[in-house]
Amino acid sequence: MEHPILFISIILEKLGLPIPHGPVGHGFLEQLCAPYMTYTWFVMVFLVVVGKLTLGNIEMIPGKGQNFWELLIGGMYDFFTENMGQELTDKLFPMIATFALYIAVGNLIGLIPGFMSPTASINTTLALTLIVWVTHHIIGIQAHGMAYIKHFLGPIPVLIPLMLPIELISNIARLLSLSIRLFGNIMAKETLLGILFMLAGAYFAPLPIMILGVLVSLVQAMVFVLLTVVYFGQAREHAH
């Protein structure tokens, strides 16, 4: 297959930095210049700059830019409060909202020619998932102390030898399913778009997939955040 044209990689190559030829480079510098890393930084810069530009000085009567952010952040805040309670939302809102914005922008950016979704790499999604997975255990231990282990023991003491491995397996399965679902959906979208561009780009063949891609990008970001919230809420609840 043809290599996609990624403009950040081209600029970095012109600057004399090593660009990896596979998905991941060998040396440290080459790994830093891998496309998913550079586009992650691009999304970060984009979010910071756009936030700064539209929210320069917060006013009592919101203008256009501030209105948009208030709607978005307020909607997310209400949604989190409804699903995992006020206390957890106050503590963890910045983290989860950042994940939501980053994943949504990272997914959508891949639809523009010359850009690549950073979430189309398993490294990015696995990193996000590991943070979520470790955090939900920390929340559980903070909320219940040693009694958190009751979450993994099932309802009846007699069934403990049977339930413990089952609960552990289904807990580790969260790690796998959360990371691979996001990665798989976005990588499939990117690959399909690339192939269609190569085959019939001149006849607008990728257009319907791009429309679907907008939907998939937003839904996958929503699903990731929703599951994160559900896991956090469950870790806090009492064991049944």
Partner: protein, 84 residues
């Protein structure tokens, strides 16, 4: 109206859209754990017993995660109805 419909849709997708993947992931983790125990922990002396035991646990874990997925939204809805 349209907004309510779309949030409901997204909530349903979030709750039920990952059923297939979670089920499969649980089975593969059980199987992988069994194979690891057989080949690396017991150096192949117990092969194929832990593979099968791990597979059985994985399948049970898959069904248990399905059960959890079905139970959680229903319980949440009951709570909400009680409150409202």
């Amino acid at each position: 109206m349209a907004k309510k419909l779309s949030t409901e849709m997204v909530e349903l997708l979030g709750n039920y859209g990952h059923i297939g993947f979670t089920f499969v992931a649980a089975i593969f983790i059980g199987l992988g754990g069994g194979i690891y125990l057989d080949e690396h922990f017991f150096d192949g002396n117990t092969s194929p017993w832990f593979t099968f035991i791990g597979l059985a646990f994985g399948i049970f874990a898959g069904f248990k995660s399905l059960f959890d997925i079905l139970r959680t939204p229903a319980a949440k809805k009951k709570n909400r109805d009680k409150k409202g």
